[in-house]
Symmetry: D2
Subunit: 364 residues, 4 copies
């Protein structure tokens, strides 16, 4: 369904980087869910570029909730959140027309939209659109929290620097919720920033891996075929710009393990069924087993770099050499983290509403 | 949409491992597409266990095309393919009731279906259901071939043994189409079989990685948000039992690369736009760029092993020790390969029909 | 989604009149719903032609539940019901190729499927496909009955003969559930049969109106835009062959009423909100109000008549005169009644599962 | 999918009558379609109340196209159109809380949204939301016109006054496109206005019937089951507030006809297949036959009347008497006409894009 995702709780995205506005419509959320604008602002702040390691473009991301919220609570009808593009540079983009930035969607947009696309700053493909996802996701994150479902993502890796593994989840998730740069190990955090800064100095960029944990999910959510928890999440996660891989539990490492190592033994913990290990990331047969949901996303290095690159002018059909100018991120991994949380929350709201009905999320 | 996938060409799966039959309904395929039952049989043969390295259960997979095909061609109306469960063992499954096989979906099925599920041999979660996917996929594979779109998957890795990388794609894909054990390097092939046999002797199992290439796709297919080519494929691929990770292009390896390494320079090749490298796997911004589509799936080791395992009886709420008996695969990577091809073909037919209309696939 | 309907409980239809089999897949029904094959047979019997007033083709409609039911209860996974075409005449249909039967879909099928369609006996457009709908619907009807939701349809009108209006609904619905020819007023019943017989003698056919009532629906089901109860039901009801109009409550008669006449006053009945009249058919703003759901479907006269008709051979592009031969119904209104009930039940299961979650229908 | 409709071209509605804004997102329209804001304004003008016979609330309906249009043409990405609620009265609605206006959705909204709904002026159920549908539909109407597909609706009936039947369609549709009060027969037009004025004087309201014709549709569009042209159109048309019946071709009148009268004989007109009559409204078996598409919608009288009415306070669980105050329409039939055109255009764009691919609408 193109720019809409979700069968029960659905989110629709619209907007272009340098158009009038970007935004999202969320439909199907239960009525009565508290919506705190302050929390939306906080989440948008996590996505916003900051300091040395990010682009100089800094939008305040002033959003307006145009519908679906009354007196601080969801009404149950569609919520439209609009974010105006205040800081869209008025600069002339005409010199860029026809030039395919390597690693970007300029050429594929042209192949799909025949030149009618808004190519300015990536247009509808711009990472800027994720601000709308983050605003929408903030409502979903808050709703899930009320139901005891907590989501947290840390930067597992940037360049070659690795964060420590998840430990005690309640503590780690609480820690991450407050951190603008979501690394558990303070020393790794500094090394990552150094790696980003070093790349920036070379006019280059770095990528990384984001690792997400979700606690508090009931067992029995998801479908055996197609709408598996893995399938639904991956479908949406691959929309996050620069994500090129998604793995659940031990993921690709499972390929090198024996069955005797990869299986998670079940045990009773009081009257609850748990698993002793969690190599399967909380999912068996596409369905939650009540253990923490665990997955990782590979984020490629930002395609915009400040070095000359070989490419083409696809309108003229000519080879050209081209070098980027302007403001850009040498790394977006740390900014993508809150987008991952947001997408995860929206997909889980969809799955839970489908399983337990519309009102479940609001305890109605 | 639960057990249905696809917006334009949709496939619906039904059936349980030890029920009367399994099957698939494919809807939305263009009329006039040739359907050769011989090719369906050939593809089903690739999925069927063979020799030392597979389960002893060997079903002939006799299918009946109940509708949607007339005089060897699709009619354009829904195609139902039914495969009866001829070899369903009549053995008593009652001793298994309530026992959660580690790594399997018994417990999650119970959490979802409250004990009404058909648990015999995995029921609706059984890998056996993929036979229906393979039969359906065979029609899609043949249709795409007519349009010049070729799909091939090789076993990139089993246990610690790696196949060589893809080389010349037309030649490699032609080679794979004929191979029952889809490994490009003959020596790796033998080592893999040894690794499987060794695991089997230990009552253990191994996993691996499958790598897929698709050539001949036009540029401009896919959507910028949600229904990206990556998202749509991953959604469906995570339905293939045991798949726990999906990555496109260089995938997780991109996380450790610089932007200057990861970007694929564009060049003109005559009047066609190509990329010099293909780290992005033929997709930019969620949309095909006309280069080969490349992705890899992580396949976990078969969860059924012949060693005692800790688990629970979830009906009684008790810890138990349990050991599998009967017939099972020490490795399913080689059998999953044709399932990956099939799923890929069905998803691509869906995307192409959405982009170019219903009749495109049949050249009408 | 083409031949699939429903977002939460979905039904997929397949098959052609003279192909191997027809069938349906129902997905999303709660686990644990009792499935009595005897009731499916009873419902299929209501659809089957009987006596003077119907076609001589009489199929036993032997169905097989291929999946999704175990020990007489739904498992929660997709239910495939297959009905083989036992009585498909082996006669040569080649003389019919290219001839557009007026009022039928031969020509439109050709325009859509380019001549690859199975045209024998209407193919996928045949009313025969509704047998699969009736079998699927029987499961939904039984499930709703357990929840106190009762559905009944009577023949409001055939030719110019009218049945009496609905009176006491519990009594009337109980009466209809037992009647093969669903008319409340015995005298009208006889007059209708006379009208059908008279038309048959003239080689002609008659149509009519079916009126449906549903009691026991909770208030608050349906959506304000698009997925209104009216919209969802009408969407599916227009699939019933020969239905050309659907109206809710007083429907078209509302167009001639004043607001003061059409409004239904609300009143308290104990702690329940009711309406004094029911001109709106139990729906306000697209959402159930807890009063009986009421609607009517216009059924056109059977297009097959035994008189010479002007038409074309669309393959040759020539005008021709043509007269039907063989077995056909002079009226299908009485047979369509159980199809309407079935479609209604499937749509309501979908709406209720979406509103209250998957398990609601099974009291889990 | 709740407040979203369409599989290929989808429209999503949001907003409440007295919230910040209402709007629509249209996704899936081809790139390169001209968007003339002047035409959107013209269409919105047709919906806006005018003169004696309408409510005194008159919003300028100033819309902003927030995304998806660049330099006057669609980009192919989602188009968000926002209309601020400028004239939302600041009056205190608290006296209305809990009072169920007969014929309105107050009580059903409460049953669904548990009191969290925005009840002011009907909230999300308000006819005001149709302004967003009209703006979205204007783009679809213009796109279809470029492809030779013309849509026109006339007021077939208000109260007891009937307009003449459609005659020469090209001329009649051209006439209607210019008429604010869409009646073909000038005398009937005056009588209708008299009937509305008379009802208004009595504090009462009137309903009517709208009849729509669409010319220029290719044959072969629509699906045999579920996504029939009738089903898809009816699904969306029942969202238009006050529509309680939809019939195609001769609709309910077919119920009283003989097969020999209802069948439309086919004939060749040069190399084109036509029908001599059009009792089936241009659709056979759910699929267009190339003849004009014809349907009618029953519009109930406006529920708001200026007479005391029996109703309840559903919060208090008490019977009350209540009388409306403020501004309201004694008739909305003439205003609903452009909403019907808009909905029709959006559904047809969806069906055509599904059939012929995304680019078809733009001749790409």
């Amino acid at each position: 369904m193109k720019n809409t995702f979700g069968n029960h709780v659905a989110v629709t995205l619209f907007g272009e980087s340098h158009g009038k506005a970007i935004g999202a419509v969320i439909d199907g959320l239960a009525p009565g869910i508290p919506v705190e604008e302050e929390f939306l602002r906080f989440q948008l702040g996590l996505r916003r570029p900051t300091g040395e390691i990010s682009t100089a473009r800094s939008e305040p991301d002033r959003f307006v909730i145009e519908s679906g919220v009354l007196e601080g609570k969801t009404t149950g009808t569609p919520i439209c959140i609009l974010i105006e593009n205040e800081n869209a540079e008025s600069k002339d983009y005409s010199s860029m027309v026809g030039k395919a930035r390597p690693g970007h969607a300029d050429y594929t947009a042209y192949a799909k939209y025949h030149g009618f696309e808004d190519g300015r700053g990536g247009g509808h493909f711009s990472g800027r659109i994720t601000a709308a996802l983050v605003a929408a996701g903030a409502i979903a994150i808050a709703a899930l929290k009320e139901k005891g479902v907590l989501i947290g993502t840390h930067i597992k890796k940037i360049a070659e620097v690795e964060d420590r593994a998840f430990g005690e989840l309640p503590a780690d998730l609480a820690l991450l919720a407050r951190k603008p740069f979501a690394v558990l190990d303070a020393r790794a955090s500094m090394q990552m920033i150094s790696a980003i800064t070093a790349a920036k100095k070379q006019g280059d960029s770095v990528g990384g891996v984001l690792e997400t944990a979700v606690t508090g999910l009931p067992a029995g959510v998801g479908e055996p075929w197609f709408d598996t928890v893995e399938g639904m999440l991956a479908h949406a996660l691959f929309s996050v710009p620069a994500v090129k891989g998604v793995e659940f539990g031990d993921g690709f490492a499972l390929a090198g393990m024996k069955g005797s190592e990869a299986n998670d033994p079940f045990r009773m913990a009081g009257d609850r069924v748990i698993t002793v290990s969690n190599h399967n990331g909380g999912i068996n047969g596409g369905i939650t087993n009540g253990m923490p949901l665990l997955f990782r996303c590979a984020v490629k290095p930002t395609p915009t770099i400040f070095q000359p690159q070989q490419t083409v002018d696809y309108r003229k059909g000519e080879n050209i050499e081209w070098q980027a100018a302007g403001r850009h991120d040498p790394c977006i991994v740390h900014r993508a983290r809150v987008v991952i949380d947001s997408v995860t929350a929206l997909v889980l709201c969809d799955l839970l509403a489908g399983r337990f009905g519309t009102d479940w999320l609001a305890n109605l």
